[in-house]
Structure formats: structure tokens, C-alpha cells
């Protein structure tokens, strides 16, 4: 390993040879004993320390954020999206009731004898007076 190669690696990976690619570490350690290589490492270590400074995130702040997450989860549970609400068992009751009524109606229509009697028609006419029904409502 030449000094230039050593410098280039130090500029990429910093001043801690243990963090360099494994294949380069042994040769780098041999070279690090020299004065110039040692100076390069010291300079990079100074930058490493600076670059590793982290923004402050206190326990309290992290706790508040975590609490906000749990609140959002609880809210999402209370107000699920419409497609989830549709898939709930309770939401099937009206549709199932309607379907059952329709099936009973169809079954009755098929099973009962069809008798076109004048009296029966007159009862229907009395209930649904066609002349009294317009587009705008019952007169």
C-alpha cells in the first residue's frame, strides 16, 4: 500500500482503521506506524469526531413521539376506512336482511298459484291508484 492509497482510504473511511474494508486493514496498520500516515489518521480522526456529533433527542421527546404514534393507532382503530367498515359483520345485516326478503318474495311468487281474479285486481287498484300517481308525487 502506498501513502497515497492510504490517504485516499483514510479520507473515505476516516481515521479508525478498524472501520476500513477488511481487505485493507492489515496493510494499513503496517503503514500507520509511520509518521506521515499517523498524521493523516489523526487529522481524519478529528473530522470523525466532528461528523459523529448527533442532534439531541431527549428521552422525553422520544416518549412524546411514541405516545403520538399510539394515539394515531387508537384513532385509526376507532375510525377505520370505509372499506374496512364495510367488511365488518354488522355491516352485512341490512344487506343480508334485504337479500332474505327478496328470496322469500321470489319463492312465494314461484310457489303460490297465479289467479287473475277481478276482486283481487280491484284491491290492488284501490291501494295503488294509478291515476292518482304522477311524477311529482301522490295527488
Amino acid at each position: 500500500m502506498t501513502l497515497d492509497q492510504f490517504r485516499k482510504l483514510a479520507e473515505i473511511w476516516g481515521g479508525d482503521i478498524d472501520r476500513w474494508p477488511a481487505a485493507t486493514q492489515a496493510a494499513a496498520r503496517d503503514m500507520a506506524a509511520g509518521g506521515e500516515a499517523g498524521r493523516i489518521l489523526a487529522e481524519q480522526l478529528r473530522l470523525d469526531r466532528l461528523f459523529s456529533v448527533a442532534p439531541d433527542v431527549s428521552d422525553d421527546r422520544a416518549g412524546r413521539i411514541g405516545f403520538a404514534v399510539l394515539q394515531r393507532l387508537a384513532k385509526a382503530d376507532r375510525n377505520p376506512p370505509w372499506f374496512r367498515r364495510l367488511l365488518r359483520p354488522a355491516s352485512f345485516v341490512p344487506a343480508a336482511g334485504l337479500a332474505c326478503s327478496a328470496m322469500v318474495g321470489l319463492w312465494l311468487a314461484g310457489e303460490l298459484p297465479y289467479l287473475q281474479q277481478q276482486e283481487a285486481l280491484s284491491v290492488v287498484s284501490m291501494v295503488f291508484d294509478g291515476s292518482a300517481v304522477t311524477l311529482w308525487g301522490v295527488q
Binding site: 479520507e11 473515505i12 473511511w13 476516516g14 472501520r19 474494508p21 473530522l47 470523525d48 466532528l50 461528523f51 459523529s52 456529533v53 448527533a54 442532534p55 439531541d56 433527542v57 428521552d59 421527546r61 422520544a62 416518549g63 412524546r64 413521539i65 411514541g66 403520538a68 404514534v69 399510539l70 394515531r72 393507532l73
Partner: protein
Amino acid sequence: MNEDLSDEALMAAVAARQQQAFRILMGRHMQRAVRVAQRVVRDSAEADDIGQDAFLRVWSHAASFDPDIARFTTWLYRIVLNLAFDRTRRRPLAPIDEASDISAPDPEPVERLIADEERRALEQAMAGLSERQRGAIALFHMEGLSGEEAARAMNLSAKAFESLLARARATLREHVEKIQNPRRYA
């Protein structure tokens, strides 16, 4: 719920909708998620939002986590970085956070002055990096990930991460030196 369980075991419980496991995971990793987000977006309020969104994604996508492919932290970093990159793309001009938001150990007063100066220089210099370069610096230097782990978290090849880190360090170094020695660069 046993608090000594590994992250991966906790994730299996989260996938089974056990909220206690989820709380433990948040307690362990919320700080690092917000820290990385803040380093990339350079805004504490946005970093908080990203922390929330990241863990909501952990909850809703828990079933898709595969411990054979990645460690939980790698997966979490990837979620956080994707959210942070999305936000910086939508908001090209990011505000610079106050240097007081940076954690400091407790050095001697004179050393602290120098350290504060350096930290301010770092914050200003960070503004000169792309969001991906800030991500690389955050993972490799701040979080102490190896090059391979950081590359996986950023969904990059080892070579691509190496060149990203090299550019980030070179740019940062140049900016820090410019800020600290303005006369030399005038």
C-alpha cells in the same frame, strides 16, 4: 412481554398485533430514528413527524419484515431515510436548526466554546450536502454502522455507498474548513 427479547422476536409479536411488543420497540429505537431523520431533514419538528410515520409503517408493514433478509435496525433506517428523502424532495430549501439542538457531552468551558463553534460549523456545512450524503454521514459516523450495513440501509451497493461517503466527507471537510478559516478561502 419480555423486554429482553430481540428486535426480530418483537417484530414477530408486532406482526401478530401485540401492541406491548410495539411499545418496547419504540422505546428502544425512537431516539435513533428521530436522530437520523433530523440529521437528514435538519428540522426537529419534521424529524418528529418522520419518527411517527416511520413507526406507523413498522406497525402496518410488520408482516412484510423478514429477519432473514435484514436486521430490524437496517429495515428501520431504510424506512426513516425513505421518509426523510421524500420530505426533502418536497421541500428543497430546508431551514437550519439551531445549534442548541445538538447534544454536547460536558467539556471544560474553553473546550466547550471550541466544540460549540465546531458544531455550528458542522450544521452549516451539512446544509451544503445532498440529503443522501447527509444520510450516509448519519449512518456511518453518527450511528456507527459499518460500510456494508449502511449500504444495505440505503439500498445501495457497497461501491456506491463508498463513493457517496467519500464525496460527503470531502464536501463536509471543505465546508467546515471554509467556515473555520474564511480568510483562506476569501
